[in-house]
Symmetry: C2
Amino acid sequence: MAFRGGIDLGGTKIDAIVVDDAHQVLGTVRRATPTEGGPPDVVRELAAALQEAAAAAGVETSALAGVGVGAPGKVDREQGTLSTAANLPNWSAPYPLAAELGGKLGTRIELGNDVRVAVEAERVLGAGRSHPSFLGVWWGTGVGGAVVLDGKLWLGRGSAGELGHVVVRIDGARCQCGRRGCLEAYAGRGAMERRARKAELDGEKTKLFEIMRKHGRTRLTSGVWATALVRGDKLAQKLIDGAVEALGAAIGSVVNMLDVEAVIIGGGLGTRFGQPYVERIAAAAAPHLFVADRPPAFLAAELGDLGGALGAALLVDDRG
Amino acid sequence: MAFRGGIDLGGTKIDAIVVDDAHQVLGTVRRATPTEGGPPDVVRELAAALQEAAAAAGVETSALAGVGVGAPGKVDREQGTLSTAANLPNWSAPYPLAAELGGKLGTRIELGNDVRVAVEAERVLGAGRSHPSFLGVWWGTGVGGAVVLDGKLWLGRGSAGELGHVVVRIDGARCQCGRRGCLEAYAGRGAMERRARKAELDGEKTKLFEIMRKHGRTRLTSGVWATALVRGDKLAQKLIDGAVEALGAAIGSVVNMLDVEAVIIGGGLGTRFGQPYVERIAAAAAPHLFVADRPPAFLAAELGDLGGALGAALLVDDRG
């Protein structure tokens, strides 16, 4: 039986797992992503996390068929490099992540884009199993996307799926990417945090930052937003309402163009908010659907927090 | 040698052609689309136009391998019916267009959606020949679209390609479809005419309607808009500028999602305005492109006014 490793490398946390042939998780470890230093420090944490997960599974890392890594940034799979990972410390130039991590673990490393591997996991193992075509919406710090058409991820010339930069309002809000009116400028957790900080400075009342501090955080995590909503925080509700409206418009646009069978909502916020928000997003998309009487199925991602790591482990299968 | 017929059935005109195996046009006829009566009156004109085109080609219609019809509305190809054709007189319920026209012409009729057959013609015979993936933008009374992926028209569940109903501004202008903020509400010739009429009522100066009357028209045709632009009409320029901006945003959104190799601009306005406006639309899309340094090729549809009829004739090949 061949075991495989999978690592979901996020801006705040690293999830490492070891799975068997049947995708059963035999060991799982979570560590914080280094916020200082550089690529070698991140690689050290990745290696340590995967070693722990392998130990929990009772296997040496060198005995694994390989380890897949889903990473936030620009992945060159052939070269085994990751570049322009804005949420990782000092990681802009291409860094030989596969070679460095492979050296430490004694096994083959396969790199993939974080959103794509998570969507691929849903296609193979999750909510996408029964839908040959779907749009994956990964709602977190940014808004990632991926389209599966006829059972295959559509990559275009390599950069397809930038749902976060679908325009929802001409001349609209400034996005971190420098453009205007992108979905992400309204719905990304990063953009919402910037709006919340500005609103508080402008004198709006909000419990968001008090909750953040109580949670021992320095950023408005998905958990902070969820708590603020439960506590009826008006600013949090207003910003989340705006995010849902923007998600509905962008999803409506994509469905009108591609007429996919399903929309699968995942990502940090998507997973945290779950089914009630899947339904709210479906309701926000409905007024924009050209074929109004036959909407796609709106589904929550099924694999939860480990979806990214499970999808990363699938990268090994591709060439195994 | 098998000859085929092709008919482009538009809201204002009917183009009928007869082509040979090599897609060479042997006969071509243009007639006005009836604006009164109902489906039988339209069918009579279609039959007469195709008979004339066949006579010009020196062939009996009953000797054709078949006749394809590109029609504006909802086509059920299997049933051979057309319904909800808003720009044709009293044509809402499904009408057996294939059977009725086939009876008059003595040959097999294949129906297709007008935008799709025109885009298919560009794929096979025109600007799409060297691009396995592209977005077709059909800019006319409405804004039609179609995506070709891996050399095939992507249909989704049957209704893909509704570019005109991609949202460019949340809570934006009311579209004829009843929704808000659709591209077509800014860029469709129909929407622009409604805006122009309202602006004139509100006292804005414009030569648009004077030009329309001089052209012997009752609508602001593509030719009327083109003349008004040449004559420096400020209202016409303002409305066209808004249309170009909206086209740029919607095209940018689709390119960000699908990363296609090319964008092909056709339709009544697209064909009339040609290369200078293809370049203006490319410039309007540029600020929205996430991969800014590698834009798709922006191309004018190559087949011009006969593209729709050529594409319709291709429908016969499919099953021939």
